[in-house]
Symmetry: C2
Subunit: 182 residues, 2 copies
């Protein structure tokens, strides 16, 4: 199952949903066609499973990078740093998640709604402990997620020459004090 | 030409790139197939022209909404408000621009690089006049653009029940003073 999902990530990432095939996936995984059908009914089914799997991997990478006692803006800085590193190590993720907008809209939406909910929950916790100013954490979460996604595309996938810390510092400064003069 | 582009926006927006057809576009436009080929050589060619046209329309909508003498964060607030209104009025734009990532990667990248460049140029101008604190305006521009794109998806296309001003206020507050307590 894990081997099929990894093979599917390469197959869909290289060829896109339409050109990808079940036989291409099993060839990459080095498994028999029969074992594919033990787990999945169709190309659509393994694509959905892959989107869900990648969504979970990104969330876990962010969670693992967040120090147990980091809070507020520091926590968002760690989450963005983890995401940039993840995007650099898994450059196929954009092709796959973005293609889900067309090939599997339900999983696409679930991925972003779930991610935004996790960010909003962190901000809510920060408000409780006084690390985050009170405000509309749902809108803030969508803004932060969007910033992270596009920074990952620009400074993770398209061009990974700048240190992750540089990018994360700029965003942390915006969250800490905005961009207007003090 | 304009009529063909508008018809193409509906055809690609409803059916997606693969299922869309030249005959579907000319039928919607009420023009003969021959007149299509006066302007475009292929489905790919009109899709590229459509992405470029939508990219220009978004830029113009933002430019038209920005008051001649607005500067700094106010200007970004106006640009986001204009974009949210545009997304609500042209819900097909996400399907089309996002599908360009696969159907026409060059136009996709040009759209976002151009948009980020315009935001960075506004921030640079704001630094000159003292409305924006000095900083890395390229990274800031990608962060702001990403926030706007995802807010447009969430609060423009998926659910347009909240007033545009509410969303714009939250983002303007982040840009003005961050989300950390003062």
């Amino acid at each position: 199952m894990r081997r099929l999902l990894d093979a599917a990530a390469h197959e869909f990432g290289e060829l896109g949903f339409h050109a990808a095939s079940i036989s291409g996936i099993t060839r990459r995984a080095g498994t028999a066609l029969g074992s594919f059908y033990t787990y999945f009914n169709s190309k659509e089914a393994i694509f959905s499973a892959l989107v869900t799997d990648m969504s979970r991997s990104v969330a876990e990478a962010a969670a693992a990078a967040m120090g147990a006692d980091s809070t507020g803006v520091d926590r968002e800085r760690e989450a963005l740093s983890a995401f940039l590193r993840f995007a650099r190590d898994h450059k196929e993720i954009y092709r796959i998640i973005d293609e889900a907008e067309f090939a599997d809209p339900v999983s696409y939406r679930a991925h972003y709604e779930g991610t935004a909910r996790r960010i909003a929950a962190r901000l809510d916790a920060g408000v409780e402990t006084g690390q985050i100013a009170r405000g509309d954490n749902e809108v803030r979460a969508w803004a932060i997620m969007g910033a992270n996604v596009f920074l990952g595309l620009r400074f993770g996938v398209w061009d990974d020459s700048r240190p992750v810390a540089d990018i994360a510092d700029v965003v942390a400064a915006i969250l800490r004090e905005g961009i207007a003069p003090r």
